[in-house]
């Protein structure tokens, strides 16, 4: 078999064995009928996990991660922003700093408080306390461990308590979102219909049909412009967006609820978002046309056919003005304001291109490490009231592990490390110690 054929085999199926999609979840559950990515009210309470439990989480998450990468859920490289470089360095950074951060949050709010934080995406829109971050808050740190092991920086058996604490932190959040059972979209048929009905129904009721084709085109431009702006505000990642759904509708059709995060403060480039709402939320109601919808754990929607927006029937746009704006003050965005937002986002995109053109590669990587590390922890820590404490404890200081990894992970050699981490399960090296902590 040629090298290309060999590689293709591992793209087509995880480890050449397990397919993607619901079929893959079914196969993973055949292998492990009770994977630790499922939660119960009882098993989220202990602080201790056995090696077998940790391995169970590792095994499922390795497939889940492959599924994201292999199904083109991420965009790959960008010439303007060295995203792959900063993401993987951020994994290493998060492995260094997230365990202490999750313990600070857990100490502050307790297990019940984490479950309540996990419940937020069921009750709110325009919030970064969403499934994407609940999903990734521990995954990023655990992947950082895998990268460090791959770089021979770390023995897989050390810092076992950090692995354990990150996993249970995530599981407690997942339990708040999903209740008993699978804590991931991949275990729930690749759907994220999270909003409770009393929150969803008023949103749907606000959706209006397009008056004419011009209005339809204006909305599509609003969607496209705010999406691209959200990407750039979040340094070319999908952290600036997130879908929930599909929400089936009586009589057929379905709805998606789509957040675009526009005005994130605290980054050197945040000024591009001045004057914009913190987030806009689109309520997208679709006609009962034959459309297959799949949403993965990072809130990315895939449809068959791809041109699903042709079936868009009614829309509404809401704004959350700041990160602390309560749900009771979420407001509708009218056509005039949508036009203003489009103009502001377009101007912001140009401003960001200019800012990026003045930075050297290392500066962009440093910015990206900081952004990526903040995005998975700050929303949770902010709501828990401990973000300033976590920052003061050195969250932003580049760790020794990240400094040591920098030369390799910022070089073309990084691909040799990362392909096995993402695609061959090397992001989750087993613990050696067989005894429970």
């Amino acid at each position: 078999m040629s090298e290309a054929e060999d590689f293709a085999k591992f793209i087509e199926k995880f480890l050449g064995e397990v397919p993607g999609g619901v079929e893959g979840d079914r196969e993973m559950r055949r292998r492990d009928p009770s994977p630790l990515v499922d939660t119960t009210a009882a098993d989220i309470r202990p602080d201790n996990l056995s090696d077998d439990q940790i391995q169970s989480w590792f095994d499922y998450m390795a497939w889940n991660l492959w599924e994201l990468i292999a199904t083109r859920s991420t965009e790959g490289e960008s010439g303007l922003i060295p995203r792959q470089e900063y993401e993987t360095l951020s994994f290493v950074q998060q492995w260094s700093v997230n365990p202490n951060a999750v313990r600070v949050i857990t100490d502050k709010v307790g297990v019940d408080g984490l479950v309540e934080l996990g419940r937020v995406p069921r009750r709110e829109i325009g919030t970064k306390l969403n499934h994407i971050r609940n999903y990734a808050s521990s995954l990023m740190a655990v992947l950082g461990r895998g990268v460090c092991v791959s770089l021979d920086q770390l023995d897989p058996g050390v810092r076992r308590e950090d692995v354990r604490d990150c996993i249970q932190f995530a599981r407690r959040l997942w339990h708040g979102t999903w209740g008993e059972g699978p804590g991931l979209a991949s275990g729930r048929g690749f759907a994220l219909p999270l909003l409770e009905d009393d929150v969803l129904q008023p949103l749907l009721a606000a959706a209006k049909p397009f008056a004419d084709e011009e209005e339809r085109n204006a909305f599509r431009r609003f969607n496209a412009t705010t999406e691209l702006f959200g990407f750039l505000m979040h340094y070319d990642t999908r952290l600036g967006m997130g879908d929930t759904g599909p929400y089936p509708l009586p009589g057929g059709g379905f709805a998606l609820i789509r957040d675009h995060f526009l005005n994130e403060t605290g980054y050197p480039w945040s000024e591009i978002g001045e004057g914009l709402p913190y987030a806009v939320t689109e309520v997208l109601v679709f006609k009962p046309d034959p459309i297959e919808v799949r949403i993965n754990d990072i809130g990315t929607t895939f449809t068959k056919p791809a041109d699903y927006l042709k079936s868009l029937d009614r829309v509404a746009v809401f704004a959350r003005d700041t990160i602390d704006t309560p749900m009771s003050e979420i407001r509708l965005v009218d056509h005039d304001e949508r036009a203003r937002i489009i103009r502001a986002c377009e101007a912001g995109v140009l401003k960001m291109y200019k800012m990026l053109s003045k930075l050297d590669r290392d500066e962009k990587i440093r910015n990206g490490v900081r952004m990526y590390s903040h995005e998975f922890m700050r929303p949770l820590a902010h709501r828990a009231g401990v973000w300033d404490d976590i920052l003061a404890a050195g969250f932003d200081e580049l760790s020794d592990a990240a400094r040591e990894a920098w030369p390799i992970l910022s070089s073309p050699r990084a691909a040799e490390i990362l392909a096995p981490v993402f695609l061959l399960g090397k992001g989750f090296p087993p613990l050696r110690n067989a005894a429970a902590v």
């Binding site: 010439g79 431009r221 070319d236």
Partner: protein
């Protein structure tokens, strides 16, 4: 290499402009303009990234 755009799918998201600004641009009306439909081989990687990144899969390459 020739760039093919499915204009029924294109929505002017601008991801293509972001990765290949010498090839793609979004005009003031929010519509895509392909600056160079047959770019030189040296642009292939950027064009492939644009194809990959398009959220509506409106782009393809014809060799």
């Amino acid at each position: 290499m020739k760039i093919i755009v499915d204009w029924d799918l294109c929505e002017g998201h601008g991801q293509c402009e972001f990765v290949a600004p010498d090839i793609f641009t979004i005009n003031d009306a929010g519509d895509l303009e392909v600056v160079d439909e047959t770019p030189e081989a040296g642009q292939r990687r950027n064009v492939e990234q644009a194809v990959r990144r398009c959220p509506t899969r409106a782009l393809s390459i014809e060799d």
